[in-house]
Symmetry: none
Subunit: 157 residues, 2 copies
């Protein structure tokens, strides 16, 4: 019962791989192919191919319309610097933080394992109630981290 949106996401990513990070597609065609509502394509794009995820999207309506998806292969230091100075700011939601880690993994700044650990480290679950005590928070983070290491290791064979 895999989510259709995930399937579509993977499909697009594989197309992107074949075509060197850039592709044009027909929304209706794709929707036909997956037998879904055309707007589901928009949903997939909106939730999995945002700027945060490292993709840029252009489109055109009318006859001969298209949707162009471009994977941004930004220079690594530029990207990191951008994150530090603008991208993150003073507060960041769990969701966005996860997206950033995902992207860092996809761009191979960090290993899959590190990504997994770091996600665990910054998850809401890990940070817990904003109890006023630093040491408290850190303890939570650490525990979550260790759990993650164990889970990771007994996960993929």
């Amino acid at each position: 019962m895999a989510r259709l949106s995930d399937v579509i996401e993977e499909f697009i990513k594989s197309l992107l791989k074949e075509s060197e990070g850039q592709l044009e597609l027909q929304r209706n065609e794709l929707a036909d192919f997956f037998e879904c509502a055309p707007s589901q394509i928009n949903y997939v794009l909106a939730t999995r191919f945002t700027l945060n995820h490292g993709y840029y999207i252009e489109s055109r309506r009318g006859g001969g319309g298209y949707i162009r998806i471009v994977r941004l292969d930004v220079d690594r230091n530029d990207y990191l610097h951008y994150l530090l100075t603008e991208g993150i700011g003073n507060r960041i939601s769990e969701q966005k933080a996860m997206q950033i880690i995902d992207r860092m993994k996809e761009q191979e700044y960090i290993s899959e394992k590190a990504a997994y650990l770091l996600k665990a480290a910054i998850s809401d679950k890990a940070i817990g109630i904003p109890a006023n005590l630093k040491d408290n928070i850190r303890a939570n983070i650490l525990k979550s981290l260790i759990t993650a290491i164990m889970a990771y290791d007994s996960k993929k064979p």
Copy 2:
């Protein structure tokens, strides 16, 4: 008559045995199967599949949602298990946390790089003033992390 929660517990454990310590299940499906309230599944998980019991749980809501249960390899990861159940507790100083990470690296649970990153993640500097806001804290952690990646990479050739 055996308590239903116990039956469900055993059922899940037998599933885990068949699937090598890892499985995904549908909460409602399981509840249907046992003709109980869905929240009873949560109850079973919360009381019998906790970290202390050696299990790790991830889940996702919405269409195609799931609950994933991972049995942690407690025996093989003696040290980690000790940390989780006794070693860390509710609060931990920066110093001790760092020592733990060092040791995890030495025991090769994590790579040198990961260790470096994680230290950054849980440092006093990263967690900052215990501003009452979770997102705040997380943002700090993330930034610190990114700095760490950059530092790490421009350090060792």
